[in-house]
Symmetry: C2
Subunit: 428 residues, 2 copies
């Protein structure tokens, strides 16, 4: 079983440490600095983790997918440029400040790769600088630079659980998944909690493998995996300026086929994507919503995302309230807004295996309402309180539109008062 | 001043009673019933208000605008049909259950107009049945029918404040606005709190006037007013199955010009629309967002709605946290999702008169952050606690995109834990 149930944090951390084993040819290091952000109203010291993911040798086999936000952060701009470099060797990561449109942002990112290159005795162009956190504030470049020699000196192989923890912002638990394939392995480490909507939003994913995989094959595989997994999850519909998934191969294990690798990457990214939803800020339920019976995947995914992002659907889930009328309303809202009609007679909606709408009308009675409410309670979880995900149960909702054979599944979360609290005072 | 500040609920109710004066030729009545919804998990009695808005004479001068949700409720379907009737005379309104896609929904709505027609001795086709509340549950038709003779007998002229109160669901205060024009008046009464997004979402608006206005002029005026006011507000981005605005003229005061009437209707609906936002479920701030410098109104409104609906923007407002990075991120998310780029150098963002982004970079420092936070605190309100709106101050945000002369203003609200609470257990 890829994801057992856990009753104590120690059980989850033990599971995580088995997952976070570095493939051959990679090392990691983490460190911590204190500084005073120049934009912060108060003067108390602010702490930032800096981390380094490093390959023993430069590799030409690397890939990246990035946010489609029109105002990406400096790390995204720099990484897109360096995708064309012949080889990459390391990634510097900081949390707390996202380095987006600060006056000197791109210069700051470049300067950090230069300083780190000196500390590692490699060219700056082989390094990336990745940031996550507050948008608009300035990176404490001097303080980070001063720490880089110590960071470089701390590189270790073995287990990357420290990196999975260091890159967290509002995450309630570290996320790492490993898959064995073709005689080697792929390790994925993810950061992300709120602001998760298609195309990578405020999510950082670092994928490392020891498998030999040609550069173009790696790029194709990553694009496909991102589309099928990270782009099928949504927490709050906001797509951030900073999201990216990066893949590096150390190329020490030969023999995996392109297709075999691609399939494995989809499976691995699917696990990470669901971990990210399960970690949604204040998430009390994970929604697995399958919309079927449309002519195209685009329509199916559009409807599914609209329903999964509806604040009224999300708050009802949080309250264990089977307010299924909001599901149909959200479908109708999306269709109407997109100038489309579907005969309600064709639509069937199921929640947890119970049919709640069919033949043009809701099918509800007192006993079914009680069963539905019990079902919602049975799928609740609270990683924010426990610090680990207790189980992987989802609220399973199906909406069949009876108008074609395309089908799409998305994963979303509920909307809790905890989400509001976390995001109301994120910067203080 | 159309909207003074209030320090006590009694002051607001006095203001409201001056607003809610019925134009000549109209009467209203309200009543209350208790019943047990067949879909409700518990058996406790459930209370529903029923209300009647009635013209002394049937009128051919009436208009309606409706939700664009693809699955409208039975009241919307019936009202659209009856727009073609030669005359309308009355509107029956219930709260608590929206009568959307219940098995017998359309029959129920028709049957209620027939029973009410008998009680009033007029044809059923001159009546509308309007419902707001839970989607998917069944109207208690027998219980409503039994009350209709008493409702009809209770019709009174003078003041409609009782109707403004009876149609509320999660509204925290009744909403009525009156405007004098052309020797007569227009009275607007609105219901709406959550689920308010373009095109009338879970908002009911009843507009009555004693002014003679030709049917087609009334319809043009209402379409324009709805587009410029109700379609420019957003509370949670959900568009309901039940929203509508209806306009009836008793036609006893001659002399208003079509344009004069249309202008007055826009002003009146603008006041009601802002009242609805101010009443957003758990609203702690009203956001007035002007997006300018685009080639078309469509782009300007699209960006404005996207920013106003961003959960991360909304939660930051709630927390009095000037997390202005989220404004730019939401603009970039919308642009990127719609395949468009704008040079960030061209963009200027202001909050409360302070420039926070210009020339491609954020312009923030410690002192400005303190001023911005103080500004957000000064615009906070809490109608949910006070039961009335204390003031009409907004958080004023401007986003100039430097790429054209089109400009649009939208009004939105913040996202509070109160919103989550109300919508998590709306039906219990």
């Amino acid at each position: 079983m890829m994801f057992p149930e856990f009753s104590h944090e120690a059980e989850y951390l033990e599971f995580l440490s088995r997952q976070a084993v570095l493939p051959a040819g990679f090392r990691v290091a983490t460190s911590r600095i204190a500084f005073t952000p120049r934009e912060r109203p108060t003067l108390e010291p602010y702490r930032m983790n800096i981390s380094l993911l490093f390959a023993d040798e430069p590799t030409s086999s690397f890939a990246g997918v990035f946010t489609t936000n029109a105002f990406p952060g400096a790390p995204v701009i720099l990484a897109r440029q360096r995708l064309d470099e012949p080889a990459i060797q390391g990634i510097l990561i900081n949390n707390k400040i996202a380095n987006v449109r600060a006056l000197t942002g791109l210069d700051d990112a470049r300067r950090l790769t230069e300083s780190l290159g000196r500390a590692l005795s490699i060219p700056a162009a082989r390094l990336l600088s990745v940031s996550t956190g507050i948008i608009g504030w300035t990176l404490p470049v001097d303080a980070i630079e001063a720490e880089l020699p110590a960071l470089a000196a701390g590189l270790h192989d073995g287990n990357a659980i420290d990196l999975a923890q260091a890159i967290m912002t509002t995450d309630s638990f570290p996320k790492a998944r490993r898959i064995e394939v073709g005689g080697g392995s792929i390790l994925g480490i993810a950061k992300g909690a709120g602001m998760i909507e298609p195309n990578m939003a405020t999510m950082l994913v670092f994928l490392v493998t020891d498998l030999v995989i040609p550069r173009e094959s790696a790029r194709r595989a990553l694009r496909r995996a991102a589309d099928e997994t990270f782009n099928a999850i949504t927490v709050d519909g906001d797509m951030s300026t900073s999201d990216m998934a990066l893949l590096l191969s150390s190329g020490v294990v030969t023999g995996v086929g392109d297709d075999e690798f691609a399939e494995a990457l989809v499976r691995l990214c699917g696990l990470l994507a669901q971990d990210v939803v399960r970690n949604g800020e204040g998430a009390g339920h994970v929604l697995q919503l399958t919309v079927s019976g449309l002519e195209t995947n685009g329509w199916a995914r559009g409807i599914a995302k609209a329903v999964a992002n509806s604040p009224l659907v999300k708050t009802a889930l949080y309250g264990n309230d089977p307010n299924v009328g909001r599901l149909l309303s959200a479908v109708g809202d999306y269709l109407g807004s997109n100038g489309r009609a579907i005969d309600p007679e064709k639509i069937t909606i199921g929640v947890g295996g119970e049919t709640v709408f069919s033949g043009g009308a809701f099918r509800l009675d007192r006993e079914k309402e009680v069963r539905l409410s019990d079902y919602l309670k049975s799928t609740a979880l609270n990683p924010r309180v426990t610090g680990y995900p207790q189980h992987q149960r989802c609220v399973e909702v199906t909406i069949d539109c009876g108008s074609g054979s395309a089908s799409q599944t998305v994963w979303g979360s509920d909307l809790s008062d905890q989400y509001v609290h976390e995001n109301a005072d994120y910067r203080t």
